[in-house]
């Protein structure tokens, strides 16, 4: 490992998620509006961040909003090209998507292929009116025309670097690290 740097610590992550939650409320007609809002996280860490944003939104809007999570493994465009098969989790979208504004949540935005898969997966559950994208970190290097609506932190990176998001629920710590030639967090 050549170098490893913490770019967001626990406090930074908390503040960032609070800001994203406020931006979602503002973009969707302010407090009291956004009746059609729903949050859907992308497995695994995106789903965990989605739960945190959902909790913040529920406090801000003073009501429950629907939340779901997606595993996009079956929608990937690299089936047959990966050396290892992914661990697959069940998706849960237990509410009617039709006509809703769905905020997709992921931890890192990189090539855009995961988000493309997630949008396709989402449409197999229904036809949302709008899909917005929230990411904790945008590291660039897009390969598809995909742009996030809410960004926690822009992280200009080289292709050889990794951005690893650690969350308390899985990694016992909240932080975002940039690593050179480091092992990726699955």
């Amino acid at each position: 490992m050549d170098h490893e740097k913490v770019v967001l610590d626990e406090d930074d992550m908390r503040r960032t998620l609070v800001r994203i939650a406020h931006e979602i409320v503002e973009r969707n007609d302010g407090v009291g509006g956004g009746e059609s809002l729903a949050i859907v996280g992308i497995h695994r860490r995106g789903a965990i961040l989605a739960r945190r944003i959902h909790s913040l939104l529920s406090d801000l809007l003073e009501r429950e909003i629907p939340i779901g999570d997606l595993d996009i493994s079956f929608y990937r465009d690299d089936v047959g090209r990966r050396a290892e098969q992914p661990t697959i989790h069940a998706s849960h979208v237990d509410f009617d998507l039709d006509g809703r504004t769905v905020v997709l949540v992921d931890d890192v935005l990189f090539t855009g292929r995961t988000v493309r898969s997630a949008i396709e997966a989402l449409f197999s559950y229904g036809r949302p009116a709008k899909v917005q994208l929230a990411v904790l970190a945008d590291r660039g290097h897009r390969e598809l025309p995909i742009r996030p609506d809410y960004v926690g932190k822009n992280l200009p990176t080289s292709r050889s670097e990794r951005v690893n998001v650690h969350v308390e629920e899985l990694d016992h710590v909240d932080e975002v690290r940039i690593c050179e030639n480091a092992e990726v967090v699955a």
Binding site: F74, Y75, R76, G80, R82, A90, G126
Partner: protein, 310 residues
């Protein structure tokens, strides 16, 4: 895993991975659009040399729910009736470049042979009296869903073990998952030396109340070319699983189709302890998981122009 021809080749973690994946696929069946694009562009050839309803339809449905293209081939009405050998049929159909071949034959070991004649992934859907690995996997999946796991369970497999490919696969799969397996039936229908697989043998059902799970096998009348039992009525008297023999906490399984009134009484088939319908439902999701397993990590044959091995 390139092929699935035998449970013997599977480790416990392979079985768990396939069952976990099947559980994730179960959610797909509950959606409005019961389809995912995981195997889009792949071709699955269902090659059935024997009649089958549930296995064939569940493999076809599994492939279609993964967005694969499916070609069904039946031996009846084909070149096989003109005397074409299994190898020539595989080489001929292989020219269509299927990515997976799901094969059922009356010949033990055929799936293993076929895997050497084609670059496609081969899934054994039953080869004679030898094995039926996807049945074993769906039975493990059903028990995991119903009871949480198989560790420490006592599972009795009752009936015509001799003619049953399901029994062989299930003995191995249940044991690999931590269960203790006992076989029970008339001595003529229990193969000699089967204890070598690690299971116990009983010729009466006196100790059946000890079992957590009772797995009844179908009396295979079509394979009864000799007098294996004095009569079906005699068999039912001694070995039928009925309300008198099945305890209220025991889970009842059967690979289907059921001969009502022979190996099972009608009352137990319809009882809440029977998970026979759950086994059928598990068939689709487990076969989705198996097809995904064998196809998801290999390039499509359309991108891999290697020749068919001789």
């Amino acid at each position: 895993m390139k092929h699935l021809v035998s449970v013997e080749h599977l480790e416990r973690h392979d079985i768990e991975r396939i069952c976990d994946r099947a559980a994730a696929f179960a959610e797909v069946a509950d959606r409005e659009i019961k389809k995912v694009p995981a195997l889009r562009g792949r071709t699955v050839l269902n090659l059935f040399y024997e009649a089958s309803t549930r296995t064939r339809s569940s493999f076809e449905l599994a492939a279609k729910r993964l967005s694969a293209d499916v070609v069904n081939f039946s031996a009846s009405g084909s070149s096989v009736e003109k005397g074409e050998s299994l190898k020539d049929t595989i080489l001929t159909l292989g020219a269509h470049k299927p990515d997976a071949i799901v094969i059922r034959t009356p010949w033990a070991g055929a799936a293993e042979l076929v895997s050497g004649w084609t670059p496609a992934a081969v899934v054994n859907a039953g080869d004679g009296k030898h094995e039926h690995p996807t049945q074993a996997l769906l039975d493990v999946h059903t028990l995991r869903q119903r009871l949480g796991g198989l560790d420490g369970l006592s599972i009795w497999i009752v009936g015509d073990v001799l003619h049953s490919r399901v029994a062989r696969s299930n003995i191995m799969a249940f044991q690999k998952m931590g269960a203790k397996v006992t076989l029970a039936g008339p001595p003529t229908l229990i193969p000699r030396g089967i204890e070598a697989l690690g299971c116990e043998v009983r010729y009466t059902l006196d100790e059946l109340p000890q079992a957590n799970v009772v797995y009844a096998l179908r009396m295979q009348n079509e394979r009864m070319d000799e007098s294996w039992v004095p009569s079906i009525r005699e068999y039912a008297t001694w070995y039928q699983i009925n309300g008198r023999r099945l305890g209220p906490k025991q889970v009842l399984m059967h690979p289907g189709p059921v001969n009502r009134g022979v190996e099972l009484s009608a009352e137990v088939v319809d009882s809440p302890q029977a998970v026979i319908t759950a086994q059928v439902a598990a068939g689709v999701v487990v076969r989705m998981a198996v097809l995904y397993e064998v196809l998801a990590h290999v390039p499509s044959t359309s991108r891999s122009p290697e020749g068919v091995p001789a």
